[in-house]
């Protein structure tokens, strides 16, 4: 069986603004139907990477492919297949919400009116309001409507929820799940960059953690939560000398030990058990904790 063409393929991408290198040798592949997270701190290179996919920047080295096409050579085809919510949403401020959506829909072959109405109701937007007087949260909501209604195969979200209040963030995620992720399973692909990982935790299938322009870790989300564990042990006396080199991090506090394990959880548990701890427990790390543990290690 031929494997399907990846929706996104980035190979050895490099981009520098003058001397400042933003992306260094980044490679990643997003398969159809996946929700892929691009995690990193501010300035890690997430937006630069996305701009290369959208042909807003030209890769200086390496290549990017979207649906197998070079976005620089097939700009119109690629843009037809994707929609994008940028981190800074800007509309013509004198247009109303209704006019803005009509204007944006005029560029699209398809526009789902039913979903548009549904999202209008959900977000309680006023179609007559000028976009210049919308709050940041409302501007993002309008941008999401404009991105979902064309029913494209790929949705690119760049830091969509940063700077929004918790209620708006929740509604945003629910709208992505409900309105965008419908239709044939395995068709709608999402690429989302964020440092607010907790909210997207349940949505993410796979992620790449980038730091200073480099991919540090790429994993399936379920697999990541299985690999990364926090182990706590408490001993009757202060903990004996135990070989814990397999741990990513070790913290000692009196009679207690706290370890972060990356794949070596079972082995470490067994080592600790041999020293008969009073209590021994383990839990998985959330994606956000994995992010912190990996970047601080």
């Amino acid at each position: 069986m031929n494997s399907p063409t990846p929706v996104i393929q980035i190979e050895n991408l490099r981009y520098a603004y003058g001397r400042a290198e933003a992306v260094h040798d980044l490679s990643l592949t997003v398969q159809p139907g996946r929700c892929y997270g691009l995690f990193g701190r501010n300035g890690a290179g997430k937006t630069t990477t996305m701009k290369c996919l959208l042909n807003l920047l030209r890769p200086q080295h390496g290549q990017v492919r979207v649906f197998g096409l070079d976005p620089a050579k097939h700009e119109v085809e690629v843009k037809r297949l994707l929609s994008y919510v940028p981190d800074q949403v800007a509309f013509y401020p004198w247009m109303s919400v209704r006019e803005t959506l009509d204007y944006l829909s005029s560029f699209r072959a398809n526009w789902n009116r039913k979903i548009e109405q549904e999202l209008f109701d959900r977000f309680q937007l006023d179609p007559a309001q000028r976009t210049g007087s919308l709050s940041k949260g409302q501007r993002t909501q309008v941008a999401l409507i404009a991105a979902v209604c064309p029913e494209t195969d790929l949705l690119v979200l760049d830091e969509p929820t940063s700077g929004l209040d918790p209620i708006v963030r929740r509604e945003f995620i629910e709208a992505v799940i409900g309105a965008y992720q419908q239709g044939i399973p395995g068709k709608r692909t999402i690429l989302v960059s964020t440092h607010l990982i907790t909210e997207f935790e349940g949505l993410i299938d796979e992620f790449t953690l980038i730091d200073r322009g480099r991919a540090v870790l790429t994993l399936d989300a379920d697999h990541a939560r299985e690999r990364f564990q926090k182990i706590r042990a408490r001993f009757a006396q202060s903990p004996p000398e135990i070989d814990l080199k397999a741990a990513l991090r070790v913290r000692r506090d009196g009679r207690e030990l706290e370890l972060i394990a990356n794949g070596s959880g079972a082995e470490l548990m067994e080592r600790l058990r041999q020293h008969r701890p009073e209590s021994l427990s383990t839990e998985s790390l959330t994606l956000e904790e994995i992010f912190v543990a990996t970047l601080k290690a």
Binding site: E174, I177, Q181, Q182, G202, D205, R225, R273, E283
Partner: protein
């Protein structure tokens, strides 16, 4: 149907949904013939990927726990496993063995462990009885 996803359990999300539906079915929290929420509202409520809920439902269907009626949704089936008896035993043995290993590490002796199993089965029976009573009250 109220489910709770725990990202710290280390268990894949779809399996958490599968296990919780099975537990609800065993305790009478979900009754044969009762409808499960459709994929979209459940995914939105749990704030998980729709594909994840779809995967859980198809797993439950292949296990014979639920059935999909085209155009009507998913329903809990009568408790009739499609698997042969020895296969069912084998599946259960894996879980029982795991519990026994855990009991060993927690230094729970045999008698206490067996007593615990009886206790937990009684709890589940009680739950089921309560749900049955409520059903008759209606």
């Amino acid at each position: 149907m109220i489910l709770q996803i725990n990202f710290k359990s280390g268990m894949p999300i779809y399996l958490q949904i599968v296990d919780q539906v099975k537990a609800l079915a065993a305790s009478g929290g979900l009754r044969a013939g009762e409808a499960l929420p459709s994929i979209r509202p459940l995914a939105e409520e749990l704030r998980v990927n729709r594909n994840t809920v779809a995967k859980a439902y198809s797993e439950l269907e292949s296990l014979g726990v639920i059935e999909t009626l085209p155009g009507r949704g998913c329903f809990l089936k009568e408790n009739q496993s499609t698997l042969r008896k020895e296969v069912r035993r084998k599946l259960l043995i894996e879980d029982v063995d795991q519990a026994i290993v855990q009991a060993h590490h927690l230094q729970v002796p045999r008698d206490e462990f067996l007593k615990l199993i009886h206790e937990r089965m009684d709890v589940l029976d009680d739950k089921r009885r309560t749900h049955e009573d409520h059903k008759e009250d209606k």
